[in-house]
Symmetry: C2
Subunit: 889 residues, 2 copies
């Protein structure tokens, strides 16, 4: 899979660097590659299976029984391999190993930095150099390595996974190269000590693992070739990613559901739990085996008292943390987007940074590491602690500042770093929060594999600690009055703050569960839940989640969520947003019509109606099917047959120009023809040039017919007009009479009849063929494409689109096709009505409709028309001239 | 809402006692009632609103500004009331109060029993009488009270909620009477000390609360009239039910999702969390205010050590608990079903028990309480402990049997009950497990409101404790060898066992989360997760879940789940299971055809096709719409108009029989006509007799058109033939000529023209009207009913049905209607192919199809036909004679 064409492709994906835009070429390329890979593996597995059978037959002479037994065992094993739990166990095991190895490497990197920094304590300047150079080198390497190998590995990966699970094919995001780039890039990035996280990338890595594993497993059996199964497995993989990152199986499953899904099949629930549990188990067992831990415990174990975790009267403070975290989370998302947009907008900076691609990461790293230099400003913000150490100290169950005085500070372990001889611990905490806040927002824009969950989590913990320490200073003996004194536990506040802020940034509730699993204590469940819910309420009304924000920045295809609660009030119906000018083909159309329709639109599927007059929707046909119909009609085998017939009829004519298309055509393929139906079986396609086909990005899952449509390629070549007009972006219909010979392509010349037609003859023959009526007999038609009605509400349309992962739906009125709604229209409608600020704007069209008189007038009228038509089937009602199909785009 | 017709209805629902069957009448009745209530509340809210406006206008003279301000404030408040979070807070608050009060009453009941038992310790016989009589009286009261007030309150309620959330309307299950019966019945049942649970009923109670609350809130605004919103709120209510029962918000949400949903909208996730958290919070705060607790902590707090919760080498023991629990859970479900079926089958017993309705509960209670009598057999099974006390002792963090000797037993608190001077603690535990196992399975069949979760939870804890104690006896110094001795904690095993067994019985993974929230410790997360997953794997392959089992016993409409993982292998397609004989109406049919079609079938919606020849599906029409069409055509206003026209035309004719239908008709309504279109606004309908209409049970959510269909009632009456033939179960078409005058009904006589037709004239006029062509203009048509294709796989069909909550779907082939698939066929197909044992049986039809040649032959042929038809629109292809509609049922 890992070819040597990475350099070209890296150039080609320039746009995806630094939150680049999602472009259609990517999708097209991805789809092709996917189809090719699928075909390859299918063929391979078939050939292997047949080889096994051959073996069986040849060796019958000798110990036949033994052979049969072996084959049966093999078959049994293969059928076992097909079971889900084997796959999930393998996935969990592998991901646990990856997670552990990555953690191990990161720890070594961070130790090395500390060792360098510690060894040079004689000279502050040398110390500074060591402190700064190390992360700059690591980040620069990470950025460079990722960009060269697979630019798709940049960033979190959760937005992309959300898009993929939505049904959009972004196959380039699930390749082995991306896996390698992501793992190595992530290790280096986190090893630098920047405020970056591991969670998002691990969701991506786990999905990569699942995709590669199922590709590998499909060598053994056919079960892994099922598309919907693979989607289910990817959903489980996302849970594994979070699970093995934090050793949090339950939180992992819930977080991955909240972050990636819109509708969730409870049927698949167990998959996630099974794989994530196994993965978390192995991940923690590895730590035990490595003698890091005595037994399996939580990652950031806390030791709060169990009998009286918190006072009822502390709850307002927890609520305040929640609300403040909500605002903070929204601010973080806003800041992050602002930085990206600022850098994009500044043309001068942008051009400069683009030229020196690695300068931006280096500069950002330099700035951040300079500010955290421990003898410098870092001394005021616990700069020498790594992210993990900060978190451990923040969750400490001792109080740092009793009665406002820093003297009683416990000088054990890393907590010392928070202590400064001149400065109060409160000042240290405030500085830490403020500095880390913008540093994290800035650092997550570096084009390396990185997440933002962990930095946000740490900032939240620091904020919670700050509130907790303030409370402890305010009530030194606790609030509870009667009897025993229960002092306030600031660590509990840190737990609440961490869950609330990370929940606000990601718009999830399950961070509460993650925090329990991370700390190993659930005693603060109610404060955590209250704070997380409040934080979500505030953040969701202000900003989209971080992942949705990145999706918008990257312009990935997505469907925004409807707002909280008030979706019943939308006064938009399908008729307001649908596109009325639908491309369609009729049942009695000619090949010329087909040809014209294919030329004008880029839709993946086309509607099939009974006639232009009745417009009764009969089904939808995939574009590829129509293309193959056309190429069959104009193809070489048909022409050869025609020639054969002609030669039988009139023996006297001689072949005139026979060798015109044997040599020159294949040479000019790469120059002028941009579409190429490949029949090669090799996994590396050397002739693949920059794909700029006008096909739509591959949105899957739309067809009700399940079997993949095999384009009848390879058995026939494609003729001049078909190809020229179908696949060139600028069709030149005037030149149809004399197509240049260079446009002829073919792959095999196995005909027994000599192709002796001149170009003019071919053109004439093709013209003749184009006037024939289309025979849809061998064409796969989806007879039940999803249909909506004019009066279907936006809310219902949204539900149906997200439930079924639709790309488009036809709008019909009593069987008549009157419009089409695609994801794009739906997105526009939702965004037009719900702005980021939560203010609803009525779409322009909705105002024309009087909602008071919304009876079934329309339907009745349409039905009436149909009824009339039924009585007298003569007059066409809609003046849609059939030549409206002719217009070019 | 609470009418006084309970006695009649109680008789009518005899079948629902003791796991009665779900009958269609119930559904019909429920639907009607729902429609009536909806109408009533709508009208009321409208009238109130208009009254407010009136007020505004009248008082304009005086302080107009003040008034306007008041109205605006009112409006604002009302709009606020419409917001989800207000509803959820109210729901949570109310449920917390209910839960707390129920718990309080149960505690008082149990204390009273103990007090009686303790006070009579001089005489063992009196003691026994007190011990036995008390629960028998309580259970008998509970059973009697429930049966008299609302038999729907019997049992858990989770199966019914699952059915309701599936989209089936069982409105009788969500009335105020049911609420009262459930709360009081549950309190008495649990107060008796029987091994019964509170969780299932609380899910039902919370849903009842939500339904009643939204009915109440709809007085303020129109938002609560949205059906889909109510379903969403019911889903949240289920979470609240579990949440406030165990003070487990996260576990509650997850458990309710797993138990009630098939597909879950992540959009609604926060609702459940919000309401459940608030409810759990209030529930625990009430305990603090009542001085039961010092602060908010877990319900069954454990105090296991945090630093070394368990050894890695103990994991096999945990896995064993999981697997054994899986078998145990399946056995429990099987046993429970066996008991119900045994009692049903034994005609003699059954007749006897049915006659003396309260005897069965009394007998079962007598048996169980006799066996648990503490001085008797109860001494060997900790009989004197209540369920809660047993659980607290079982989760104790001390080891009961060190080195196999019971001497080191800690005699503190209730743990003493497990100690017996002669018998080992292991024997006590084994006896407890065995006895409680069958007792719980038996007790949950008593017709009182009760759940099985808590008993199973306690049994699981006991089993875990048994394994834990054995391990502690086996390894007295713990397994860990190097350094410090960490003794084994049997309480941890109890936690694992409880989660595993309850997970196995309910087929859920979220019992793990519930157990953490119940105990307040999450340190055993990995053992619990492993055990729960293993238990689920074993139990799911052996038996359905307890709730699914009850659904099958009660014959509720449901859709079984597809098996684990191997659903890709199903070789069944829609064409194998669909019903080919579809009832349809054509666009050009007469009212007579309509009439005949309505007579023959009981489907809720009917397909509308272009013509019998083309069979092109145009949409579906609700039965009610067609009925109203028919009654409009034959109705009094139309006839009066006809009369008016006639009188204008021929002035000479005199009115002959004018008073024939003013009096006698309305008197005989209740005798012969079973259908009645009510226009009364009163909430109590005194004339409602036993509903035995042949309408289908109301499966909702099928129509794409959203607005509720208002039957045009009240403005016109219904005529003789229409009603007689439509709504009597035994239509007599011969008598159409001379309809008896008793069949005439009308509600208002506000016409200005005198109705002077004779019966014969009316009959003739109606005959004439019936031959007219139907005018569908004022008819609401769903133009896009859900369509499938012949080749849609069973897996896909199942997914679509459960995603969209469909009742039926039409099967089309290139626009032509060829069949229909309803929930029933789907269920049959799934059950036919997946038996309980996991063995797949190929359905008989599937074997006829060669899966190898499964190309699109069918489609192509159909298309070809259509194509031919298009060219020559004369020959009808399918010999479906139009008179096939005539045949009666």
């Amino acid at each position: 899979m890992a070819g040597g064409v990475s350099d070209q492709r890296a150039l080609q994906y320039e746009q995806t660097l630094m939150y680049g835009r999602y472009t259609q070429e990517l999708g097209v390329y991805a789809k092709e590659e996917a189809a090719r890979l699928k075909e390859t593996t299918q063929r391979r597995s078939i050939s292997e299976r047949s080889r096994a059978l051959d073996l069986l037959e040849y060796d019958k002479g000798r110990c036949a029984k033994c052979r049969i037994c072996t084959v049966r065992c093999q078959k049994f094993l293969i059928s076992r391999v097909g079971e889900d739990w084997i796959f999930l166990i393998l996935l969990g095991l592998f991901m646990a190993l990856v997670s552990w190895v990555v953690d191990f490497c990161i720890a070594i990197c961070l130790q090395a930095q500390k060792w360098m920094y510690g060894g040079l304590d004689s000279n502050v300047f040398l110390q500074y150099l060591a402190w700064v150079t190390y992360p700059v080198v690591l980040i620069t390497f990470s950025a460079g390595f990722t960009q060269i190998l697979a630019p798709q590995a940049v960033g979190s990966g959760i937005p992309e996974m959300k898009t993929i699970l939505r049904g959009v094919v972004l196959k380039e995001y699930l390749t082995f190269k991306t896996f390698v780039a992501k793992v190595i890039g992530l290790t280096c990035a986190l090893g630098s000590g920047m405020p970056l996280g591991k969670e998002g990338p691990f969701v991506h890595i786990a999905s990569l693992c699942a995709a590669l594993l199922s590709k590998f497993m499909s060598l053994f059996g056919g079960i892994y070739e099922n598309e919907s199964r693979n989607i289910e497995m990817l959903a489980a993989a996302c849970a594994v990613g979070v699970g093995c990152c934090f050793a949090a199986p339950i939180g992992g499953v819930l977080f991955s559901i909240e972050v990636t899904s819109t509708f969730f099949a409870v049927r698949n629930y167990w998959r996630g739990f099974f794989a994530a549990t196994f993965s978390a188990f192995i991940f923690r067992v590895l730590a035990v085996w490595n003698r890091d831990e005595e037994t399996i415990t939580a990652l950031f174990k806390t030791r709060f008292r169990l009998d009286f975790p918190f006072d009822l009267q502390e709850l307002p403070a927890f609520a305040v943390i929640g609300i403040a975290s909500g605002f903070g989370g929204a601010l973080f998302v806003y800041l992050n987007r602002l930085i990206v947009q600022f850098i994009r907008k500044q043309k001068a900076i942008n051009r400069f940074l683009m030229k020196k691609r690695l300068l931006y990461p280096a500069l950002v790293t330099l700035l951040i590491s300079t500010l955290t230099f421990p003898p410098g400003f870092g001394q005021f913000m616990a700069g020498k602690l790594t992210q993990k150490e900060s978190l451990v100290t923040l969750l400490d169950n001792r109080t740092w500042a009793k009665q406002g005085i820093a003297e009683e500070f416990d000088y054990i372990g890393h907590s010392q770093a928070w202590k400064h001889p001149q400065v109060n611990v409160f000042v240290t905490l405030v500085l830490f929060i403020v500095m880390k806040f913008w540093m994290s927002a800035l650092a997550t824009t570096i084009p390396v594999p990185c997440g933002a969950f962990m930095p946000v989590f740490v900032i939240g913990a620091a904020f919670g600690r700050l509130v907790g320490e303030s409370m402890a200073a305010w009530f030194p003996d606790g609030i509870h009055t009667d009897g025993i004194i229960y002092p306030i536990v600031p660590g509990g506040y840190a737990v609440v703050g961490a869950a609330a802020l990370s929940g606000a940034v990601t718009h999830t509730v399950s961070t509460a569960v993650i925090v329990f699993e991370l700390t190993g204590q659930i005693s603060h469940i109610l404060p955590v839940m209250i704070a997380v819910i409040l934080a979500n309420a505030v953040a969701q009304s202000l900003q989209p989640s971080l992942y949705d924000s990145i999706i918008r920045i990257k312009k990935l295809p997505y469907l925004p969520e409807l707002g909280w609660g008030h979706h019943e009030k939308y006064n938009i119906r399908v008729e307001d947003i649908m596109v009325r000018d639908v491309r369609y083909i009729t049942l009695n159309c000619t090949y010329r019509d087909l040809h014209n329709v294919l030329l004008t639109g880029h839709l993946k599927t086309l509607a099939l109606v009974e006639s232009a007059a009745s417009m009764i929707l009969l089904g939808s046909i995939e574009r590829a099917q129509l293309q193959s119909l056309l190429s069959q009609q104009l193809g070489r085998p048909r022409r050869l047959e025609y020639i054969r017939e002609r030669t039988v009829a009139e023996k006297k004519r001689l072949s005139m120009v026979s060798d015109i298309e044997s040599e020159p055509g294949s040479q000019r393929v790469s120059q002028e023809v941009r579409f190429q139906i490949s029949t090669e079986e090799s996994s590396i396609s050397p002739t693949r040039t920059a794909p700029q086909k006008p096909l739509k990005p591959a949105l899957k899952k739309t067809s009700v017919v399940e079997r993949p449509i095999e384009m009848p390629t390879g058995t026939h070549d494609n003729s001049a007009i078909g190809l020229k007009n179908l696949f060139c972006t600028n069709p030149d219909t005037e030149g149809m009479e004399e197509p240049p010979p260079s446009l002829k392509i073919f792959f095999g010349d196995d005909g027994d009849v000599e192709d002796d037609m001149t170009l003019r003859e071919i053109a004439e023959w093709e013209e003749q063929q184009l006037d024939e009526q289309v025979n849809f007999n061998n064409c796969k038609i989806d007879p039940a494409p999803f249909q909506l009605v004019e009066r279907t509400s936006l809310h219902k349309t949204h539900t149906i689109f997200s439930l079924l992962g639709l790309d488009h739906a036809y709008v019909t009125s009593i069987g008549r096709l009157i419009g089409v709604v695609s994801l794009k229209e739906l997105r526009k409608a939702i965004e037009g009505s719900v702005t980021v600020k939560g203010v609803k704007v009525r779409p322009p069209l909705a105002s024309f409709r009087d909602s008071g008189t919304s009876s079934s007038e329309n339907e009745a009228t349409e039905l009436h028309k149909l009824w009339d038509r039924h009585k007298s089937l003569s007059l066409p009602r809609e003046p849609t001239p059939p030549d409206s199909d002719e217009k070019c785009q």
